[in-house]
């Protein structure tokens, strides 16, 4: 069990940071806003994983908990989803939602860093205390921010990926993007499953879900941005015709 609550979240963090580097390097070449936001989102994902690993190794730390809650629990899904909004939505929606997300994130930062905490509450209810959870926040109105950000993030990230996959499938084009988007959608759902498992008392379910999510999204991104050999051959044949 200790391995799951220590090394596993660190592994998630390492994968997330490599993924973020890969996306941001692509951003420097193409200058597309969605790549920048996905890169930032994956840095948040990595910070969340790092804080969880820190808790597993060294125990409670006030600042680490606040960083985890802000980046890992509140902001990550929304910022990743905002990237998808930039990719798919028409102007001026990306700008409007970005302003709202920016303001909301600043408010979240203020609320999380001024909240009262009680680490003893991590073992209340069904939660085992083996992993971090928002139970430790005493101040009212902080935890209620999380579903707002997460619903927005999940709908835009998973919804956008699955919508893209469906469009490509319906037209029977770009198989690699169809598969990539399905993997991204599945990866984005994995931490939500883990979080649900954690709420129902399954120890470390959240950390397993997060690791699976980081791996699936990374493979999905790689698949979506790398044409398959079959498609390349077909394209070459079409050009030859």
């Amino acid at each position: 069990m200790e391995f799951i609550t220590t090394y596993l979240p660190f592994l998630s963090a390492v994968i997330s940071f490599i993924f973020a580097y890969s996306v941001l390097r692509r951003y420097t070449q193409r200058r597309k806003n969605h790549l920048l936001l996905w890169g930032i989102g994956m840095i948040f994902y990595g910070i969340g994983g790092f804080c969880e690993g820190y808790y597993g190794f060294f125990g409670w730390n006030d600042t680490v908990f606040r960083l985890w809650y802000l980046f890992g629990a509140i902001l990550v899904a929304a910022w990743l989803g905002q990237g998808t909004v930039y990719l798919l939505a028409k102007k001026p929606w990306p700008t409007i939602t970005m302003v709202l997300l920016g303001l909301g994130s600043m408010y979240g930062l203020y609320r999380v860093f001024t909240a009262q905490l009680d680490p003893a509450l991590l073992t209340t209810s069904l939660h085992t205390g083996s992993e971090l959870s928002g139970h430790a926040i005493v101040t009212d109105g902080v935890r209620s921010l999380t579903p707002i950000f997460n619903i927005y993030g999940t709908v835009t990230l998973v919804g956008g990926a699955i919508w893209s996959a469906w469009i490509f499938f319906r037209k029977r084009v770009l198989l690699h993007r169809t598969i990539g988007n399905i993997l991204i959608a599945a990866g984005a759902l994995a931490p939500a499953f883990g979080g649900a498992g954690s709420r129902f008392g399954i120890p470390a379910a959240l950390y397993i879900g997060e690791l699976l999510g980081a791996i699936l999204m990374f493979i999905g991104f790689w698949r979506a941005t790398t044409p398959m050999k079959v498609e390349q051959t077909t394209a070459q044949l079409a050009t030859a015709d």
């Binding site: 619903i151 999940t154 029977r172 198989l175 939500a192």
Partner: protein, 52 residues
């Protein structure tokens, strides 16, 4: 190229049988899961589903 020709060309295209079967299943599954999760989350947030 006319609209009819475009539609005809699209309908002629297909992925391999494996992907033709697996992709709709995967998409449908994810849509059902995300819809279920959103309904549950909203239900809990609105107090319609008791959490004990």
């Amino acid at each position: 190229m006319t609209k009819e020709t475009k539609i005809s060309k699209n309908s002629e295209r297909s992925f391999s049988p494996f992907y033709e079967k697996i992709i709709p299943v995967a998409i449908t599954t994810i849509v059902i899961i995300i819809t279920g999760m959103l309904v549950l989350t909203l239900g809990i947030a609105l107090g319609l589903i008791p959490t004990g």
